[in-house]
Symmetry: C2
Subunit: 399 residues, 2 copies
C-alpha cells in the first residue's frame, strides 16, 4: 500500500523549514511553502527535524525475548556458552520466531526504523523454524517494515553436518543474504566454512554478511580469507563483515592493510559501537571510503538484557564508543544508522530527494546531534507515506 | 522540611511486595500489609520496584549548557583544548553557575537522584563564581537534593599561580571536598600539586577527590603518589580517584598492585563506564573490596553533547562497558549508582532500613536489571518523604 500525505513545517536534516508532498508513497515535492493539495491528509511537523527512516542493519528478529516476561540471564562467559544456552532454550521456553520477530518489528517501527536486516538462525536442531517465522512476519508486517533476511549458521556450519544443506534450503525459501560466523574460532575450519558461504552466494547470486567476533591476528586472518574470496569471485560491493572487532586492534600494521582492502573491494563493516570490546574505528573507516552500517544486534535475548531497538540511541552508542563530540562527528554516526544502512541493504529510493520512497522520521531537535543525544520519545514514523508510529503509539500492534 | 507518607504496594529491591511508612522524613516501618495510619498521604506504588534514591557521585553542576539552546561542539581533540575552550566560553556566553546548576539539579531530581557530588571549577579567571553559584543552588534546592561540593582546580593548580589560594577560599566558603586534576599531564608537577591538595585536606579535615585521566604508567605513577599520601596522612577512607583510566590498562603487573593498595587504604574509585577509554574493571575492583561510585560527569557542556543526568542509564553504561550480562552483574552496576555513591559521599542514613532517610525511587520493572535496561520514564522520586518528581513532572521548576 502506498499513501498520499502532505507534511507541513519540518526541517530536512535540521536545515531550514520545508513542506513535503508525498504521492503514492514517494516524495513528489519537498521545499519551502509548498501549496497544500486538496483532499490530502495534512501532518503538522511543528518545526521538527525530518530525516529518512532509521535503518536497523543488524539484528536477530527470530530470538528476542521481548514481551515474554523477565528472565534472569545466566549463560557462561564464552561465545560458545551463549550459543549452546540459546539453542537449548529455544524450544524449552518456546521462543517462537514468528511471534518474537513480530514483536521486535513493532518496537523497531515505534522507535523510527523503516528497514531491518535480520540474521536468522539456521541449525540442525531448530532447522528452518526461524526462517519460517521471520518470513511470516515479513509478509504480515510489510506495511510497516522492509525486512532483509540473512540465513545465519549461528551454531556453526562445518562443526554441524547438515547445516550447509539447511542454508541452501533457506536461500530457496527466500533469504536475501548468506550468513557466516567466526570461521576459525567457532567453526575450526575457516577455508571450509568460507568456501561453503561464498559458494552459496555464487549459486544464488546473493550477497554475504559474516559475523566476525574474532579479534587480533586470528580475526585479521579470517578477514583476509573473506577479502580473497570477494576479490576472486568479483563480489566487490556484495560483502559485509559484522562486528569486525579485529579492526579495533591497536596495531596499525595489522589494521591498515585490512582497511585498504575493504575500501578497494567495497566490503562494508557493521559495528554496534560495543563499549566492552575493541571496535572498528568509524571515522577512520569512513575517511578511507569504507561503507558502514550499524544495528541493535540481539535485543533482550538469551545473550543479554540490553536493547530497545532505538537506532537513534545506537547512533549515540557509536558516538560514545568513538569519542565523537563535535556535531559533524555525531552526524557521521547518524549517517551510519540511516544512509549507511541503506547502502549496505541496497535499499532502492532511500533518502529525502524527489522520487525517494517516503520512509521518514520526524523528531524534535535543534540539530541532528541534539536528536541523537536526547532520543526524544515524541517521534513520528512514516512508512511509504503513511504514519505508522506517533509518540510511542503504533499503527500495527504486536502479537 | 521532613514529611510523612505512606507508600502502598512497592517491591523493595524488586523483592516481594511491601508498604512503607515514612514519618518525619525517615522510614518508620517497612513490610507487608502495614496498617494505613490516619491522616497521612497515601501513595500507590502499583507493585513497582522501590530503591534508595540514585546517587550522582561525579558531575559538574556549574557548567552544563542545559536549557541554553543548542550549541555545536568544536573544541580541539586534547584535554587541554577542552579546558581552555571552556574557560574562554564561560563569560563569553554567560554559563552562569547558579542558573545552570539549578537546571541540572532539577533534571537530576526528575531522573531519580537524591544526592549529588559536584566538582566546581575554581581558577584565576572565573575565581569563585562557580562556588558562589553552586552554593546558592545548594541552599535554594535543599528540599530536593543533597549536594556535596568539590573545589576543583580544572585549569591546573601549579601552572596557575593563585589557584591554591582560591582553593583555600573555596574550602572556607563551604566546599566539602578538595579536588585535584592530572598532576603530571596537566599540572607538570605531581609532587607540587598533590602536596597542596593533601595539605588543604589536612588543614580543613576534609576528604579528597582527584580527577585522574592519565593512562598507563603515568597514571599509575600519579596514583602511587596519591596512595603514598593517603597512607602517610592516615587518610584511609577519605580519598576518591575519579576516572582512573590507568586501572583499565591491560597489564596486570601495572594494575594489580594498585588495586591491592586501593583496597588496603579504602581509596574509592569513580568510573562513568566510558566506552572510548580504558576503564576501571568494576567487577574486579568490587571483588577486591574497593568502594566504587559513578556519575554523569559533564552533561551537555562545552566538552561534549551527551548526558541526561539519568543514573539508571549510567548503570546501563557501566554494564555495557564491563560486559555485564547476568542479572547479578547488572545489580552490581546498580549498587554502584546507589549504595556505592552513598558510601563515597558518606551519606548518613542512606538505604531502605528502618530509620533511614526516605530518599527513594519507585520505578516499574520485574527485576532491578529490567529497570536498568528499560530506564522507564514513569518514575516516582521521593526526597525526605516528599514526592519531588513523578512521571517527569517535578516539584521544583528550573530557572
Amino acid at each position: 500500500m502506498s499513501h498520499d500525505l502532505f507534511i507541513r513545517n519540518v526541517r530536512p536534516m535540521a536545515r531550514s523549514a520545508a513542506d513535503v508532498h508525498v504521492q503514492a508513497g514517494r516524495i513528489a515535492a519537498i521545499g519551502p511553502d509548498l501549496p497544500v493539495p486538496a483532499g490530502v491528509e495534512v501532518l503538522d511537523g511543528a518545526g521538527a527535524i525530518l530525516t529518512p527512516g532509521l535503518v536497523e542493519a543488524h539484528t536477530h528478529l527470530d530470538k528476542s525475548l521481548w514481551g515474554m516476561g523477565w528472565r534472569p540471564h545466566d549463560a557462561g562467559p564464552r561465545l560458545i556458552d551463549k550459543i549452546d544456552n540459546e539453542r537449548r532454550l529455544k524450544k524449552l521456553i518456546n521462543i517462537d520466531p514468528a511471534r518474537q520477530s513480530a514483536r521486535q518489528v513493532v518496537q523497531s517501527s515505534r522507535m523510527g526504523s523503516t528497514a531491518i536486516r535480520s540474521h536468522v538462525d539456521v541449525d540442525t536442531e531448530i532447522g528452518l523454524w526461524g526462517m519460517e517465522g521471520v518470513l511470516k512476519t515479513r509478509a504480515d508486517y510489510a506495511d510497516i517494515m522492509d525486512i532483509d533476511i540473512v540465513a545465519f549458521p549461528q551454531s556453526g556450519l562445518m562443526i554441524r553436518p547438515g547445516t550447509a544443506e539447511l542454508l541452501d534450503q533457506a536461500m530457496k525459501m527466500g533469504a536475501d543474504v548468506v550468513g557466516g560466523l567466526d570461521p576459525c574460532a567457532i567453526d575450526r575450519d575457516p577455508k571450509g566454512q568460507l568456501d561453503v558461504v561464498f559458494g552459496l552466494a555464487e549459486r544464488y547470486g546473493k550477497p554475504v554478511d559474516i559475523h566476525l567476533h574474532e579479534g587480533g591476528t586470528m580475526g585479521a586472518f579470517s578477514m583476509e580469507l573473506i577479502i580473497e574470496r570477494t576479490r576472486a569471485l568479483g563480489m566487490a560491493g556484495k560483502v559485509t563483515v559484522s562486528h569486525a572487532f579485529c579492526l579495533g586492534d591497536p596495531d596499525p600494521a595489522l589494521v591498515d592493510p585490512l582497511i585498504a582492502a575493504l575500501a578497494e573491494l567495497d566490503i562494508a563493516i557493521m559495528t554496534t559501537g560495543p563499549a566492552s570490546r575493541p571496535a572498528p574505528p568509524v571515522a577512520k573507516l569512513a575517511a578511507a571510503g569504507v561503507r558502514l552500517c550499524s544495528g541493535s544486534d540481539g535485543i533482550r535475548d538469551t545473550w543479554g538484557p540490553y536493547g530497545n531497538a532505538d537506532m537513534l540511541e545506537r547512533a549515540m552508542f557509536l558516538g560514545l564508543r568513538n569519542n565523537f563530540r563535535k556535531d559533524e562527528e555525531v552526524e557521521l554516526a547518524f549517517d551510519v544508522v540511516t544512509h549507511g544502512g541503506a547502502r549496505v541493504m541496497d535499499l532502492a529510493g532511500y533518502g529525502l530527494d524527489i522520487g525517494c520512497v517516503a520512509d521518514l522520521l520526524i523528531v524534535p531537535g535543534a540539530a541532528i546531534t541534539e536528536a541523537v543525544v536526547s532520543r526524544p520519545a515524541n517521534r513520528i514514523v512514516i512508512k511509504r507515506g503513511r504514519v505508522v508510529a506517533r509518540d510511542g503509539a503504533v499503527l500495527r500492534e504486536a502479537p
